[in-house]
Symmetry: C2
Subunit: 385 residues, 2 copies
């Protein structure tokens, strides 16, 4: 279980294809994981996700521990049965959301100083965004909650420091993240969950090359079934993000999947795959859909633009998704203008199809040794770089 | 086209089964028509409606003439192609919605006196609920708009007087409705649409037996392919509604379908079928779903009730719909509490399945000569009479 088999190494690139085995099936990498924050990929049924060929989805521990609470999910023998999804699931640890609570615009920027989030060496006290109730979460507890939720891949509890923190603070947060990682690992092993759930560690270190290297080496040394890069795509510019990926990758083992958390746009996916990333998640396709935006090969469009009112073409004439095979821009324009939920569904289907299909094309091009060509041809057409 | 073949007459009841032929297929009666106000049955795709075995759906002329406007729909050769629904459609005339505009709680009750709706002998001036723009609609115009929309069954433009009007006013409104019916019919025939779209007349007359009789006789005399009863289920008590149906039915031809507009609850459907009604539409199943309410054989329930938090049963253990076959009350409770749209979809699927399945059971019981028994057994279990 949790074996990662590399299938093909790309030419003149760190891109590779592989297969990661989990108790709920195999995942073809590079893979994009649709986000189902509250145990539902917004608007879609599990059947629709399968039709889209989603091989794995992500759910958020922070939201699920607050509602319905992990004990409810445990009563159903885990998230798979509760939400009726029999393919692999990954849960984050809740760390990112908890630390984001301190970053509301109306609060001082440094999360650690706000009342909503209080960081201690052994864990974090935070206030629920739902009812203001106070909770204390430790790496041990975050791991146990994820045991109850029962995803195939679970994430270590880490501190994602605000992007404008001092280097001194990034060092502190990184060291805490490493300390917590050992605690997550110990809790995971002690619970005997190694064979049914894979624990991934998370590299932190902000935008400091030296810290990222230290962190990557430490996380790699834990010899976990997979490794993730956190704390990127949180406001830094794209060149910096890519530099951080390049810094980290050489220190992460080749024979383990590498997961870049919270990324991203189609160009981001291509750049990150090129640098050796195997796994991605992002709310972008579902969130853009909610805000009436959709992708075509040329980039981003907004369906509420009046030019689409009588347009007989599908969202993307080159697309084979359910929305594009069955409905015109005119009809979807109408649905979105009227706030009709079918519109939201069709936009979600299209955007997820776009990213999942992009990943299929990426995998094929790696297999055929043409990834670099595919990437540059894709980026040439793309207008929203 | 538009032939109505009665298949079976029930025993000790006016209930009957039949088949109504339209350009987009046959409809088995008695039939319930899901409402797709803005050319979408809220939250559902056409495929899902077919899986539910909906044979015909309803769309609202008032909403579609304002947005996107009938000209947009005409560009797509009609509503069927625009919304990708190839089975029969019925459009109302817009009358009911327009007269409802004057019945906002903050306005004087008599619609005809408000600024939002001004009734003249040749038509109605009204103010759009969307942007306050003023429109003037006549029976001729309502008919032509419905020609552009292109439904299989279209409705005459009628005046639905407020329930608390004087008898004098009901007479006025009824006479106007009759006058308008002849105009709708003339417009329809002149346009040569008789073979592709069936025009139905509407009986009015409030809760006055004598007026209902006069109106039924007049509407029947027009010899249209189907006849409807309007102005019921608008606030009168149930006994009165049933009395009005009983008054009207003997005057409507047996060999034409009879459509009771805007009804209703499962017990209402049973009572009306018993009295000889063949067609129904109502927003109830979709609206209840939006408000977290669902039906079982025992009546109405609310999924947000905390007793369902950890409930492993489906919404209705006896139900075979997609929601009940795949998800627990616990999961749907969570989705609805979180405002997740999949919850809204599953509730809609369940409620529509409940009504459509009820109609199937009704048809079977009529065929088998056991309708009366079926009705009383159903009503015995029902707790929300």
């Amino acid at each position: 279980m949790f074996e990662f088999k590399i299938h093909k190494l790309g030419k003149n690139t760190k891109a590779r294809t592989g297969v990661f085995s989990t108790p709920h099936g195999k995942i073809q990498t590079p893979v994009f994981m649709p986000v189902g924050t509250r145990a539902t990929v917004k608007t879609l049924s599990p059947d629709e996700l399968k039709t889209l060929d989603a091989e794995i989805i992500l759910a958020n521990t922070y939201h699920l521990m607050l509602r319905p609470g992990e004990k409810t999910i445990k009563k159903f023998k885990g998230l798979h049965k509760w939400m009726n999804w029999d393919r692999p699931i990954l849960t984050d640890s809740g760390g990112f959301q908890i630390f984001s609570l301190g970053q509301d615009k109306d609060l001082p920027k440094n999360a650690t100083k706000t009342a909503k989030v209080r960081i201690k060496e052994n864990g974090v006290e935070f206030q629920s965004h739902l009812d203001g109730s106070r909770h204390f979460i430790t790496p041990e507890k975050a791991t146990k909650i994820q045991h109850d939720i029962g995803a195939d891949i679970i994430m270590a509890f880490d501190e994602c420091a605000p992007g404008d923190s001092t280097k001194e603070y990034f060092i502190k947060a990184m060291n805490r993240t490493h300390d917590w990682l050992t605690k997550c690992k110990a809790t995971h092993e002690k619970a005997g969950k190694n064979k049914t759930q894979a624990l991934f560690g998370i590299v932190q270190g902000g935008t400091y090359k030296d810290l990222r290297e230290i962190s990557a080496k430490f996380v790699a040394s834990q010899n976990l079934p997979g490794n993730a890069i956190g704390g990127l795509a949180v406001g830094e510019n794209k060149a910096t993000m890519l530099k951080m990926i390049e810094t980290v990758i050489p220190h992460l083992p080749e024979n383990k999947p590498r997961y870049l958390m919270g990324v991203g746009t189609p160009p981001d996916l291509l750049e990150a795959v090129d640098r050796g990333i195997d796994m991605f998640d992002c709310v972008l396709p579902t969130r853009l859909a909610r805000h009436s935006a959709f992708w075509t090969q040329k980039g981003l469009n907004h369906i509420k633009n009046t030019k689409f009112k009588n347009d007989k073409l599908p969202l993307d004439p080159k697309c084979n998704c359910y929305a594009c095979k069955n409905f015109s821009r005119s009809y979807i324009y109408h649905l979105m203008r009227e706030g009709e939920l079918l519109g939201h569904r069709l936009m979600t289907i299209h955007n997820l199809h776009f990213l999942l299909n992009l990943m299929r094309l990426i995998r094929t091009s790696i297999e055929q040794g043409t990834f670099k060509k595919f990437k540059s041809s894709f980026l040439k057409k793309w207008q929203n770089k």
